[in-house]
């Protein structure tokens, strides 16, 4: 009986939680007439892809989508790689500044990124004058900044996973004559895959969601805009094109959902893994 009640509560919470997403997808598929109707229904009998067509075609969301994908994938790959190396350094070796560096990484997560956008704006502007690929209006600038901001957390989190790999595994590899490089890539790297999955989720979300830097850095080259900032195009002072906004939002949400479902098992075991630290 108590189990029934608990199950009921859980299902109710689940429905409430998922409802905004359901409403988004539904509204994206509803014809404009139904969206504007004063009597909104939680279903539609006339689903249409018109809003998706206009979002991708007229408003150029295909391009923004691609930009977002490029930035997010680059950020995930680069920060996973760099964080892995740093996490190994901070767990497998004892050196004097180790604790200091760890505390600095923890503190780095506290720094308000939004405030840093002020000096970074000038820095990226100046950097663009010498290195064209990473200046204002480029995807490179977004990648660079997002990698930096995802690293402290990724390193901090990966540390536990590296520590959880028994030293004996590496020692056995050394006995077999493996080089340091081999141990790093062929032994350690695959063993901490769940940890990498968990941290990748965070880097991916950080990059995919970034609205602030896209808004600040991409000023005139609108073709280099990413999804979150480009979405604002649909907001009109007089009447919002809700169908278009919902279609674009759906397009923006699907990749993250797919990514999440893909790494779900590893994510949960990965998060749990932090306990074993």
């Amino acid at each position: 009986m108590r189990r029934r009640v608990a199950d009921g509560v859980a299902i109710l919470v689940a429905l409430l939680t998922v409802f905004p997403i359901y409403w988004m997808v539904l509204s994206a598929l509803k014809p404009t007439g139904e969206i504007l109707s004063a009597d909104p229904r939680p279903w539609t009998l006339h689903p249409t892809l018109d809003h998706f067509r206009s979002a991708l075609g007229v408003s150029g969301f295909g391009r923004y989508f691609l930009n977002s994908v490029v930035v997010a994938l680059a950020v995930v790959a680069l920060s996973a790689l760099i964080a892995f190396l740093a996490a190994v350094a901070l767990t497998r070796y004892r050196f004097r500044t180790r604790t200091t560096i760890l505390v600095l990484f923890l503190i780095a997560q506290m720094v308000p990124v939004e405030a840093l956008s002020i000096p970074l704006f000038f820095q990226i502007r100046d950097l663009g004058r010498t290195v064209p690929g990473v200046g204002l209006n480029t995807l490179g600038s977004l990648i660079l900044v997002q990698v930096a901001f995802s690293l402290p957390f990724a390193i901090w989190m990966l540390r536990g996973f590296v520590a959880a790999v028994p030293k004996e595994v590496e020692e056995a590899a050394i006995m077999d004559g493996a080089s340091r490089f081999t141990i790093l890539w062929r032994v350690l790297f695959p063993l901490i895959a769940p940890g990498l999955a968990a941290t990748s989720v965070f880097s991916f979300i950080l990059a995919w969601n970034d609205f602030l830097f896209a808004k600040t850095f991409i000023i005139s080259a609108t073709e280099n805009q990413t999804l979150p900032a480009a979405l604002l195009v649909f907001f009109k002072p007089d009447e919002n094109d809700w169908g278009g906004i919902m279609a674009a939002s759906t397009l923006m949400t699907i990749p993250v959902l797919v990514f999440f479902i893909f790494v779900r098992r590893r994510l949960v075991s990965g998060l749990g893994g932090a306990v074993k630290e």
């Binding site: 108590r2 189990r3 608990a6 859980a10 919470v13 689940a14 939680t17 998922v18 997403i21 409403w23 988004m24 969206i35 504007l36 004063a38 009597d39 909104p40 790689l81 964080a83 190396l85 740093a86 190994v88 350094a89 505390v103 503190i107 997560q109 506290m110 308000p112 939004e114 405030a115 840093l116 956008s117 002020i118 000096p119 970074l120 704006f121 000038f122 820095q123 900044v145 930096a148 690293l151 390193i155 609205f211 602030l212 600040t216 979150p228 604002l232 809700w242 919902m246 923006m252 949400t253 993250v256 959902l257 990514f259 999440f260 479902i261 949960v268 075991s269 749990g272 932090a274 306990v275």
Partner: protein, 298 residues
């Protein structure tokens, strides 16, 4: 191979491994932080940006301007209240649902965790616009269902904050829930059985066995919640159109951004950024101390 050579290599290896991280973090994190401090001591506006006038050093001038401005104090006040509210509700809801997850059947658990995953995965931007649509004065479902035709949820400051807060919690409770649930699952069954055999009550078992094992996770969850909620930007910026009617829903973050990029007062904006950084650093230090005291090893 002599042992001194090995030692030397041993000592240099971590440096090589850390080098890529430092190569990104120093120019993209440490240096801008230093620049933020520097900028906060200058009068730096549109003429200085375009190079028409040299930047004028004003020392603590920006901070004096700020501290003498009642708007700043009210923004600071509501930032802290808003963040604290979001953190508390997120943690309470997340923890309660994590416990609920351990008490329900497989089907309900799968449904709940998938639903949570959906909210977690939804970008801040998506959440903001969908909730804005749901609560739209004319076409929003909520007003239709409640019969509040034309009611504007952004008109009242507290109602607007509550709405934005709800979106923030919706986005962040899944992380707390799934992380804590995963943690509870990872507690070895043998330990719990031993506690039961020793006659420990459910509460004692939780307090003396489960909670200590979960502590590192709770640490991560609390720190993350404070960081996220104190620095909410997208939701406020998008939902209240840049800080609410007459700036009534401004939080420090948005305030700094608006001062810098909308009114071209980059020095003043940087000073607000410094104030925020200091507040968050104090929170971190308190937290680190608390961690040390409970015997957490860094």
């Amino acid at each position: 191979m002599s042992s001194s050579v090995t030692n030397r290599r041993q000592r240099l290896t971590p440096l090589w491994l850390l080098l890529p991280a430092l190569a990104v973090l120093v120019p993209m994190f440490a240096y801008p932080l230093y620049q933020l401090g520097l900028l906060s001591t200058f009068e730096y506006g549109q003429p200085q940006v375009s190079g028409g006038e040299p930047a004028r050093f004003v020392g603590t001038g920006n901070f004096r301007t700020l501290f003498g401005d009642p708007t700043f104090w009210s923004v600071l006040n509501q930032t802290v209240l808003f963040a604290a509210g979001c953190v508390l509700v997120t943690l309470a809801l997340g923890a309660a649902l994590a416990v609920l997850m351990t008490r329900i059947g497989r089907v309900a658990r799968t449904v709940l965790s998938f639903a949570a995953l959906t909210a977690w995965a939804a970008p801040a931007m998506t959440g903001s616009v969908v909730w804005t649509f749901l609560f739209d004065s004319n076409l929003g479902l909520v007003n239709e269902v409640l019969g509040l035709d034309g009611y504007n949820w952004l008109y009242d400051r507290n109602v607007a904050f509550a709405l934005v807060g709800a979106v923030v919690v919706w986005h962040s409770f899944p992380f707390v829930m799934i992380t804590l649930y995963a943690g509870i699952q990872a507690v070895p069954g043998a330990v719990l059985e031993a506690a039961a055999l020793d006659g420990a009550s459910a509460f004692t078992t939780f307090r003396r066995v489960t909670a200590p094992i979960l502590r590192p996770l709770i640490t991560i969850v609390v720190i993350q919640s404070i960081i996220w909620d104190f620095k909410v930007f997208t939701q406020i910026y998008v939902m209240t159109r840049g800080g609410g009617i007459a700036g009534q829903n401004m939080v420090l973050n948005v305030y700094a951004y608006q001062k810098a990029f909308a009114s071209a007062q980059y020095g003043l904006g940087s000073a607000i950024g410094i104030v925020m950084t200091v507040i968050l650093l104090v929170v971190t230090l308190f937290y680190l101390r608390a961690l040390r005291r409970t015997g957490e090893v860094l």
